[in-house]
Symmetry: C2
Subunit: 190 residues, 2 copies
Amino acid sequence: MFKKIFRKLKRRFAPASVDSVSMALAVEMLCAPSTLMQLSPHDARVVARYMHPMQVSEGTVFIREGDTRNTGFMVLILAGEVTVESIVVSRVSPITVTVLGPGSMHGDLGLIDGLPRSASCTASSDLHCLVLTRAGISNLLEDNPQVCAKLMMAIAIRIGDRLRDNTEKLKKYVMLMKAMQQEIDHLLPS
Amino acid sequence: MFKKIFRKLKRRFAPASVDSVSMALAVEMLCAPSTLMQLSPHDARVVARYMHPMQVSEGTVFIREGDTRNTGFMVLILAGEVTVESIVVSRVSPITVTVLGPGSMHGDLGLIDGLPRSASCTASSDLHCLVLTRAGISNLLEDNPQVCAKLMMAIAIRIGDRLRDNTEKLKKYVMLMKAMQQEIDHLLPS
C-alpha cells in the first residue's frame, strides 16, 4: 500500500522526466521499424531524454483536426490505443482512418510545419505516452545537432511514407473514377 | 574571346565546385518560400557548398519513375524547365503532373528514403542545376550537423506539404466517387 501511495505522490510531485521503464520502452519503440523511425538505440535514448510523459484518459481528443493552435507537439504511444479520424470534404461525419496501439506516433506533421492538424486522435483507452514538443526539438538541436538531424530525417521518411501511400491511393482513385465515368456514359440515354 | 575560352577551359578542368553566380542563385532559391526550403541565407550558403553543378540537355530524363538504383540525389533547378510526369496504375500513358522552372527541387523524397522514384523528371529545356547527393548530406551531417538538421526539417516540411495536398485531393476524390456511385445506382435499372 505504501508503494502505491508513494507512486501516486511521486507521480504528482516528480518533475516531468521519463522514468526508466518508459525510457526503455521508448528507446525500443523509436528503434523499431514499425514506428518508421529506425533510430539507433543511442540516438533513440538521446531523443527520449527530450520527451516528457503524458497520461491521457479514455475518450480524450488530444489532437483535433483543423486545430491551428496546438500544433507544437508529437506523441509516442507507450501503452493504450488511439483512434485516428478525419472529416471528409462535406464536413458531416468523420471517417476512421486507423486505430493504432503502442509504438505509434502522432502529430509529427503538425509539429514540424505548424499548419492545422490533418486528423483527429482520440484515446480509445487510457494512454501512457511521451510527448516531444517544438521546444524539445529546439533544445535537442542546440545540445545534440547530429541526433536532431537524424530525428528530422526519420520524421521526413515517416511523412514520405505516408505521401507514397497517398500517391498510390490517388492513382488508384483516378483509375476508378475513369471506370465509373465510362459506366455513367454507358448508362446515360444517348 | 579569351574570356570565353578561359571560361570553357575552366569549366572543363575545374573541380565540380559551385561558381559564385550559381552559388548566389542557389542561396537565393534555397531561402525563397517558393522552394519551401526557407533556410536562412547562412544555412543556404552552407548547404550549397555541399552541392555540385550538373548540366542536363533538353529531352533527358534525369529522374525516372520506379527507378530503384539512382535514388541517392536531389536536384535544384537554377535555369531551365522540368516536366514532372507519373504513370497511373494502368501503366499505359504517363500523366503530366506539373512543369516547373528555376528554384524547383526534385528527388528529395527518394534521396531520403531510397525507395523507387515516385515520378519522372524530364528536361523540357537545357538545364543548369545543382545536385545534392546522399554522400553530400553525410558530409554535411559530419561537418555542420546544425545546418543538416535544419535542411532535414526543411525537406520534411516540403514532403509534408505534398502530403497535405494529396490528402486534400484524396478527400475530394472520395466525395466525387460517392456522388458518381449514387449516379450509377440511380441510372441502373431497378
